[in-house]
Amino acid sequence: MSEAVNPQLILAIVLGVLFSLGTFLVLRRDVIRVIWGVTIISQAANVYLVTMGKLGGSVPIFGHGSHGGGHITDPVVQALVLTAIVIGFGTTAFSLVLTYRVYQEHGTIDLNELGDST
């Protein structure tokens, strides 16, 4: 198997860039963009967690041949990410509908125009 690339460095760069882009979007004034930013950030966090389970093992299901170096991929992080994906999905759905309601109430989804501070 090709080992020409360094997983840590690549993962670190990829996750760093994803978080950067997510952050950049969170700072925008368009609510939808902010939600994209949050989505990217949470996707990246999930990828990070899976990465923490070490790549290159075999599926964490018994009764299936082990193909990767004899070790089984960490099932715990997968379970955690599953939970996180589901929760993230719930909140994303909510924030999208919230955005819709923000638009209904304010006539805009420009965060700069949502009115004064409290």
């Binding site: 690339v5 368009d30 990828v47 093992g57 099932p75 994906i85 719930g90 638009y103 420009d110």
Partner: protein
């Protein structure tokens, strides 16, 4: 003892009920309570010692009470003057609103004041202390509609309650070194046997000056010492009986009481450099006495005059206690009593004037003796006492002040000579305003002033009693001059003095405190100073109006007025809040996110730096394949495209690239469950996105270059944080991760009965997580429902 302190509180609690029955006669109920207290205080006369009731044993806090001269003095004032004031209130408050609250607060105040007087535990002292401030707040704000009442009440609360907090910290410092809150008793910090040790401990811990200063702030705030005196004149917004009771006779005495109380602790014996104590309190007292006397001359309202006068006399007492000599102690102890008598009387007189003449303006008043002869007689005794004219009571205590000032100057020399000079200078102004007050009853009656009614008996008896006592005290000095000493009074004041003496003095001469007072029989320095005061005062009185105007002109210079500083601070704070907060709470999410993410970055990177985590050398660990790298690359490209997407729909679609790439990543990372979940969730998210996008405007939000740069920097910082986090955590390889257990066939398959470890974790090992997770999903549904169905109900809240 507990009964004594608790009785007024208990009586206060039922006052609203009592009021329903007794209505106007509630005053007599309250006065009866006060009288009972007075009786109980009197029953303690001649006794001393402490009693203790557990309150918070694990904190070492108890309700501990202690009886000695000083506490009895304050106790007598609180209950005795209380009886008179409450009786007087029966007449004064007739027909006024809010009487239930009024008597409740007054009784609670009396209880608090008794608590302050008799508390022998620092914490319980503080408790009662703040309760006096609180009842004062309520009473000053009695006329709740008036702006000026509100202003006054808030000012007094801010200053006295805050001052109390300083004092509390002082107490805590003492507790820190002494390990106890007890003031008296075997381990009490003020007990003669312990005071010196506590003093040393404070010095050793370097906390002597801080503790002293903090307690001084508390005392100064309560006793209206410059520059914290400003609340007292405003406090005259309270009904006059309250002014007489709280703001002249009792509550303001709490501060000087505190100084007297702690005098044995902080005042060392036999020091020939000026001790910190004296430097602090003698200066503070004399400065206050002088400045507020000058301000009293500038007063245009009789209650204002009396208020400044009160501050001035409190300054006198503070200065007295400040002087290290026994004369100093005698000054303080005796003047507390004298001042309470003449000032309470004068306040009640002022109340009669205001009530019956309908005005409190000095220039509108005059020649009142014709209409109010008895009141005039009382005023003569009280005002001359206040002026320090022999043989009236104030004269004697002022003699003690002069004596102690001179003594201090004599002992310490140099700048200490300013003590007697300032004392005399201040006393001249005291003389001036006292005479001015007296002159309200003499001379011509101004034209505008109509017929002045006689006050009801309930309003006349109390000041008469006070005046009589003042007169009797004065008379005692006269008789003593001829060898007939008022021994009971002397003994009592002696016991008060004793309470304020440092322990060494106790040790040397257990019964050395021999208080007596009389008219000067030879030309002593003090007598000379009195003579100068009266002589210069008589001359200067001719120019009273000029002085009055001159001082007022001076007061137009804002920075000279402490009130100007106060108002600027308070309203400035308000303005600062209104100005600043919108810059912080901008209402803009980007501001919030910027701050929060900056903090996240700083903290995390700070954590790594502080721990000295080295970035690992990049090894070639297994797992990364070209396809994985490609997929991650596409994910980044997708995310990048999202951030520059030209429209909502294209952004959403581009975001799906990321979603798909993450799904592939999960496949290649051997996480089929995750890949499935990711894909189904991705699809449904897209559907919801589309459902919502339909209804949204196409807003693209042009990005300004400057913004982009700033946001870019922050984004990079966040990215760097994550980059470092990934690098430092991927190298870790803990030996016995909990995952090992789940990889055990025996556990997962045989015990839990499933082959898919992830699923077994989800529904069994960590099924509780899933329980929470589905709660979130259900709530998401409820939330969407709420968002839509509760629409148009926003107006109701």
């Amino acid at each position: 003892m507990l009964a004594l302190v608790m009785l007024p509180f208990a009586a206060a609690v039922v006052t609203p009920l009592v009021y329903r029955v007794l209505r106007e006669r509630t005053a007599y109920y309250a006065a009866a309570v006060a009288l009972a207290c007075f009786g109980m205080v009197a029953s303690q006369l001649g006794t001393s010692g402490s009693v203790s009731y557990q309150w918070i044993p694990s904190l070492g806090v108890s309700l501990q009470f202690y009886v000695d001269g000083l506490s009895l003095l304050i106790g007598f004032l609180a209950s005795g003057v209380g009886v008179l004031i409450l009786t007087y209130s029966g007449g004064y408050m007739h027909g006024e609103p809010g009487k239930a609250k009024y008597y409740t607060a007054l009784l609670a105040f009396m209880g608090s004041m008794l608590g302050v007087a008799f508390s022998a535990d620092l914490v319980s002292l503080f408790v009662f202390w703040e309760l006096t401030s609180l009842s004062s707040f309520i009473l000053i704000g009695h006329y709740t509609d008036r702006r000026s009442s509100q202003y006054a009440a808030r000012k007094s609360m801010l200053i006295t309650v805050s001052g109390g907090l300083f004092m509390l910290i002082g107490f805590l410092l003492i507790n820190h070194v002494a390990g106890t809150f007890a003031m008296f008793g075997p381990s009490g910090i003020l007990s003669p046997e312990n005071a010196a040790m506590t003093n040393e401990q404070l010095h050793a811990a370097g906390l002597f000056v801080p503790a002293l200063a903090l307690i001084a702030v508390g005392a100064a705030a309560k006793s209206a010492q410059v520059p914290l005196h400003i609340w007292l004149p405003n406090a005259m917004e309270a009904p006059t009986p309250v002014s007489a009771f709280l703001h002249s006779a009792t509550m303001v005495k709490a501060g000087v009481y505190l100084i007297g109380r702690f005098r044995p602790l902080f005042l060392p014996e036999g020091v020939h450099v000026i001790p910190d104590w004296m430097l602090l309190f003698a200066v503070l007292g004399l400065v206050t006495m002088t400045i507020t006397a000058i301000l009293a001359v500038a007063a245009t309202d009789i209650k204002e005059l009396l208020a400044y006068s009160t501050a001035s006399h409190l300054g006198l007492i503070v200065a007295g206690f400040g002087f290290a000599s026994e004369y100093g102690a005698e000054t303080g102890a005796f003047h507390i009593l004298n001042h309470a008598m003449f000032k309470a009387a004068l306040f009640l007189v002022a109340g009669i004037i205001a009530h019956e003449a309908g005005t409190r303006k000095i220039k509108h008043l005059g020649g009142l003796w014709r209409d109010l002869p008895i009141t005039a007689a009382i005023t003569v005794v009280a005002a001359l006492g206040m002026a320090g004219v022999p043989p009236f009571n104030g004269f004697y205590s002022k003699e003690f002040l002069f004596e102690s000032a001179y003594h201090a100057a004599h002992v310490h020399g140099g700048l200490a000579w300013l003590f007697p000079v300032v004392a005399v200078f201040g006393s001249i102004f005291t003389f001036l305003y006292s005479i001015r007050f007296l002159m309200l009853f003499f001379g011509e009656k101004p034209k505008g002033l109509g017929h002045v009614h006689r006050p009801p008996l309930t309003m006349l008896v109390p000041p008469a009693i006070l005046g009589t006592i003042a007169a009797l005290i004065g008379l005692g000095g006269v008789t003593d001059t001829f060898g007939i000493a008022p021994s009971a009074l002397n003994g009592f004041v002696g016991s008060v003095v004793e309470s304020t003496l440092p322990p060494a003095a106790h040790a040397e001469a257990a019964e050395a405190v021999h208080f007596s007072y009389h008219l000067p029989t030879s030309v002593t320095p003090a007598a000379t100073m009195s003579a100068i005061t009266i002589a210069v005062g008589l001359v200067a009185y001719q120019y009273y109006d000029d002085l009055h105007r001159g001082i007022n002109r001076l007061l137009t210079v804002n920075p000279l007025r402490a009130n100007w500083w106060y108002d600027n601070a308070v309203y400035g704070l308000n303005d600062a809040s209104v100005e600043t907060i919108p810059h912080v709470q901008t209402g803009l999410l980007r501001t919030y996110a910027t701050w929060s993410l900056t903090a996240v970055t700083l903290l995390a990177l700070g954590g790594y730096a502080a721990a000295g985590v080295a970035l690992p050398s990049f090894g070639f660990a297994a797992g990364m394949t070209p396809s994985l790298a490609l997929v991650l690359g596409v994910a980044v490209v997708g995310a990048f495209a999202v951030s520059i997407a030209p429209s909502h729909i294209s952004g959403v679609l581009t975001l799906s690239i990321l979603g798909f790439m993450v799904a592939i990543f999960y496949i290649l990372a051997d996480a089929p469950d995750l890949a499935l979940t990711q894909l189904v969730v991705e699809t449904l998210t897209l559907v919801i996105f589309l459902l919502v996008l339909d209804r949204l405007p196409t807003f693209y939000g042009e990005i300004k270059r400057s913004r982009a740069v700033r946001d870019g920097v922050l984004s990079l910082a966040v990215g760097t944080t994550v980059f470092v986090t990934v690098l430092v955590t991927t190298v870790a390889d803990p030996a016995n991760s909990i995952a090992q257990t789940f990889l055990d066939y025996g556990v997962t398959v045989e015990e839990a009965g499933g082959h898919n470890i992830v699923n077994v974790i989800l529904v069994d090992f960590r099924g509780f997580d899933t329980m929470g997770e589905i709660s979130v999903v259900a709530m998401a549904a409820l939330s969407v429902l709420t968002l839509i169905a509760m629409r148009e109900r926003g107006e109701t809240q």
